[in-house]
């Protein structure tokens, strides 16, 4: 058993007088994908920022393994109009090195054709893949992704989680995902932490999805709910750059909560 990458111990934090996190503890292990779920405003991003060292907790402590290399994919990134910046130069900032390694990283996330494109002209989905390429270029021990599914359709999400699993297997790095998207995330995750200012429940996706506090938090009317944990089908091919044969969204059923939008099929970013 290797040492944990990050240990969060009884952390509490208030922002502007409001408690955001109370008594939160969790451990991030190498080779494990942890997903942080919870409603908007539950403190998910704040917890991620604490883990990244961008903020300090009021109480409790956060221990990082010495020499921990972190790759971070923020929720969004806006580049000022006045700053001309190609994807290639953007990647160079994160990890200076040979052009070839940058080209390979982009190919891996399916956006090799964007290398000379200005960052500002990328669509949401394209930017996410570029951000992921930058995070991967850093050869991270821990990869932190804030809402990676945002702006990416279901097929793209599936490919994204497939890639994350691949990266985890190859590099043995720990991965922390933040999401409020439940279904797709759950099946590709080793550990789910359900957060609502405190840790409501945590464990395997199956265990969490059966937990009453989880069901309450997401407004599901009891255990009779048809909550299908999305299981990966291999009857279709897909790539990160879009294009899917086989129906992915039909595997995801989301009854009982009207706030969940169904995603469009096909990749409109290309």
């Amino acid at each position: 058993m290797t040492a944990p990458l990050v240990t969060v111990e009884e952390v509490a934090l208030s922002l502007g007088g409001h408690p955001v996190l109370e008594d939160v503890s969790l451990t991030l292990e190498p080779g494990r994908i942890t997903t942080l779920i919870g409603p908007n405003g539950a403190g998910k991003s704040t917890l991620a920022r604490l883990i990244l060292g961008l903020m300090q907790p009021d109480r409790g402590r956060i221990r990082r393994r010495t020499g921990l290399r972190v790759g971070y994919m923020p929720q969004r990134l806006s580049v000022d109009e006045s700053l001309p910046l190609t994807v290639d130069r953007f990647l160079w900032l994160g990890a200076p090195g040979r052009t070839r390694t940058r080209r390979e990283a982009l190919a891996r996330t399916g956006v090799a054709h964007l290398r000379q494109r200005p960052v500002r002209q990328l669509s949401g989905g394209e930017l996410q893949r570029v951000l992921l390429a930058r995070a991967l270029l850093r050869q991270p021990d821990l990869l932190v992704l804030d809402e990676p599914a945002q702006g990416v359709d279901v097929a793209g999400q599936d490919a994204l989680y497939g890639l994350l699993n691949e990266v985890r297997d190859q590099r043995g790095c720990g991965i922390l995902l933040i999401s409020h998207d439940l279904h797709l995330v759950m099946a590709r995750t080793d550990q789910v932490v359900c957060l609502h200012h405190h840790v409501c429940c945590s464990g395997t996706p199956e265990a969490v999805s059966r937990d009453p506090s989880y069901q309450r938090l997401f407004g599901l009317p009891g255990p009779a709910t048809n909550l299908a944990v999305y299981t990966h089908d291999h009857d279709h091919d897909h790539g990160l750059s879009g294009g899917v044969s086989g129906d992915v969204s039909s595997d995801v059923s989301s009854d009982g909560h009207g706030d969940h939008e169904h995603h469009h099929h096909g990749d409109h970013h290309d």
Partner: protein, 261 residues
């Protein structure tokens, strides 16, 4: 003609060369008004240098850094907006500087020279100091380029990736203070902001990468100094303003080109 103009030309070129990349950062980070405020404060530095009989450049750098530190501290509060704060500090320090200079009894001070520069009055020692300073600034910029650019693109990402954000930001302040100190005798405190902003803005339309923009900004600045001095020589116009007008003309010329993103 060349013996007369050589020190002026070389001094102006040193300032313009450095003002290219520094101006790019000022534009990217929206620090134009901030730079202007430091430049106004430089006048106070010049007054202090005379009063205390210390080195002009040293006094200006110290005062600029003190003002930068004070501004960073004052910006922590939220009731007065950043630009209001800069307006208050800029004009207060300018007023104090003018008063302090007017109180100098021992020497006759040419206020206009500080405000609008007096490139034709620089001597070879100034030229040496300016090129020395330029070399230092350019070396620091090259050495810390990735860190400086990283915090400009996204501070959080830079921090996560292990860049010392606060130290890098302080370095940028120091470089800006050094440049302003160099500018006070050449283009003057009121015109240095234009030499920072105009070439960089002109370079934006012609570049695809940050490095291109910094280099093209330098080129525009160098050209503006040449054109400005020429204009000043033949039309007998004040040198500093002539350089700024030349830079502005070059900027307008870049507008004719279709923009590259």
């Amino acid at each position: 003609m060349i013996e007369l103009l050589a020190p002026a030309l070389l001094a102006g070129l040193a300032v313009a060369l450095v003002a290219g990349p520094m101006g790019a950062f000022v534009v990217w980070r929206r620090m134009a008004f901030f730079g202007d405020t430091l430049a106004h404060g430089a006048l106070l530095g010049a007054a202090l240098a005379l009063a205390l009989d210390v080195n002009l450049y040293l006094a200006v750098v110290v005062i600029c850094l003190a003002i930068a530190a004070a501004l960073v501290g004052l910006q922590q509060q939220r009731q007065i907006a950043g630009d209001t704060l800069l307006g208050i500090v800029a004009h207060t320090t300018l007023a104090l500087g003018v008063i302090a200079l007017s109180l100098q009894k021992t020497v006759q001070v040419d206020l206009m020279a500080y405000l609008f520069g007096d490139l034709l009055a620089v001597n070879w020692r100034d030229v040496a100091a300016l090129w020395g300073g330029a070399a230092v600034i350019l070396a620091l910029l090259a050495w810390q380029w990735r860190a400086l650019l990283s915090i400009t693109v996204n501070e959080e990402l830079a921090r996560v990736e292990g860049i010392a954000v606060t130290r890098t930001r302080m370095l940028l302040m120091l470089l800006l203070a050094l440049l302003i100190a160099g500018a006070i005798r050449t283009v003057g405190v009121l015109l240095i902001t234009s030499l920072l902003v105009i070439p960089a803005a002109g370079a934006r339309r012609l570049s695809r990468t940050p490095e291109q923009m910094a280099l093209i900004a330098s080129a525009i600045g160098l050209l503006a100094v040449n054109l400005g001095l020429t204009l000043s020589w033949y039309a007998d116009t004040p040198v500093g303003p002539s350089i700024v007008v030349a830079a502005a003309a070059l900027f307008v010329a870049t507008l004719l080109r279709s923009p590259r993103s």
